[in-house]
Symmetry: C2
Subunit: 309 residues, 2 copies
């Protein structure tokens, strides 16, 4: 069994590789919900949906989020009213949020609804939100105060300095059913190449999750989201620096050393392999840029080989 | 000043006639909200929207509700998930509900949001929900129990017998700002040809509204929604019979005698004019079927002439 700690786009691509090299039914992804938001009265779970749409082959390849061949009639109508349009919701994508929200009103948990949605898309892997309880990543921007993650990420295009990140609700959150079992029972725990600060940290912040991953450290393989000192997508490099870390595979190694025994870094960073190992992790050097599903599958093979037998 | 007590389609057509014969800024419509519903987490106000879309020239003429040239991508996605699709929400129409719901979450009242929406559609008349408080028409169907109005009207196609109707929340509801003033200050109060049981009665059920209309009785003109013993649209005839009334202009006259001094009936019912007057109302006979805006305008002239100078 494989357990993957997952954020959004990078994790979706990693999982799209994994399902090509192991049976999807062997895979559980434990997904960040710190990015979730309530907008227009709807419960929106961007990371869960990005993974679902990617694995269903329905993601918009141009953006990495949302559905391909999407229409935007509802948003155009909201715009006419002067409503909130900075968080784009395509018409078919809206169907997902309408369904999720109604089911939540009916009393279903987020993990129950997620299972229903992935089943409707014929996915055989298991997606688990890390928690069914409210957990929201909050970002402090000096001069602006505290913003929700999407206000920072989408509305400000993550183009503002950040002085702190916290996970509101984390203290009270319980791991969703199956989360701890998936970590404990995994032959390999994979930390996907997601943003360590705002994708992986909120997953680890749910009480019990970090402890379970630490206990599985010897079987845990992380993939660096930093390649040649930069994030392939999003603000991971900038956030690492702003919060006092090094925006390099060595900085990532320091962050992940307590939870992972192995770090996979890109060939571009091969000269830093010794520095990574000096942080106490085994270092595996491989192509990590997932340009297409074949590249993702190749990386998946490397990751699985990186774990001790 | 003209004040119109309004339900959905019939009232929308009546108003579409009135705006052609008096300045729209002279008109206030007090609109039923007993049909409102929460679905997919969204606040949906069908009667307000039907009137808005009709007056904006954007209504779907084939159905009398929803927007013309609408797309249905979101609903198709909900259907894929096995979600609730019996209440059809087109993509552009969804934009209205998304906007309304977000504004309600922001703390705006329904009447505030309604003003914003009608302004966005460039309407010059004033639409007021009868109340900003929760008011829900509930219908008892023997064997099924109590249904919400839309479960009865849309999901069951109003094709089931009804033994009782009540307006949940009416006792606690307060008239929205402007409602009582609009009735008191009106030169003519018009009771639109809407369903007396489930469109007009919930408006009158808000404490203070019936009393205000009774006080304005001499200036109040009702238009019968029953023509030749049948409703032009919807279940008004059937509901009248099932709840012990007569499904005729005479039955309508009995219901409206306490609140209206004048009843406009269709030429098809000319032979019942004396029976109507025997109920204590002046009876005006005129074409009442609003086949197009010109017919609606002609009816509007009759209605305004029906009130004492």
């Amino acid at each position: 069994m494989i357990c993957v700690l997952a954020g959004g786009v990078g994790a979706a691509r990693m999982l799209d590789g994994l399902v090509r090299v192991v049976a999807p039914s062997e895979i559980t992804a434990i997904v960040n919900v710190g990015d979730d938001l309530e907008l227009h009265g709807l419960h929106i779970s961007p990371d869960l949906d990005t993974i679902t749409y990617t694995l269903a082959g329905a993601i918009n390849p141009a953006t990495g989020w949302g559905l391909v061949d999407e229409s935007w009639q509802a948003m155009a109508a909201v715009e006419r009213y002067g409503g909130i349009t900075w968080f784009g919701l395509g018409d078919r994508d809206l169907g997902t949020h309408l369904y999720r929200t109604q089911r939540r009103h009916d009393g279903a948990t987020l993990s129950e609804v997620t299972a229903e949605i992935t089943r409707a898309w014929d996915l055989d892997l298991r997606l688990l939100p890390v928690t069914d309880d409210p957990l929201r990543t909050m970002v402090t921007v000096p001069g602006e105060g505290e913003l929700s993650f999407q206000e920072y990420f989408v509305q400000r295009h993550h183009d503002v300095a950040v002085s702190a990140v916290r996970f509101a609700g984390a203290d009270q959150a319980r791991p969703a059913p199956g989360v701890l079992d998936a970590i404990v029972g995994a032959d390999v725990v994979v930390v996907a190449p997601s943003n360590p600060i705002v994708s992986i940290d909120p997953v680890l912040a749910v009480p019990g999750v970090r402890e379970a991953v630490v206990a599985a450290r010897e079987r845990t393989v992380a993939v660096s989201p930093i390649v040649a000192g930069a994030a392939l997508k999003g603000p991971a490099d900038r956030l690492l620096r702003e919060l006092g870390h090094e925006a390099s595979v060595v900085g990532v190694a320091r962050l992940y050393a307590p939870i992972a025994a192995t770090l996979v870094i890109d060939e571009a960073d091969a000269d830093l392999a010794d520095a990574v190992e000096a942080e106490g992790l085994r270092c595996v050097v491989a192509p990590t840029v997932m340009r297409d599903p074949d590249a993702a599958a190749a990386l998946a093979r490397v990751v699985l080989a990186g774990a001790p037998a």
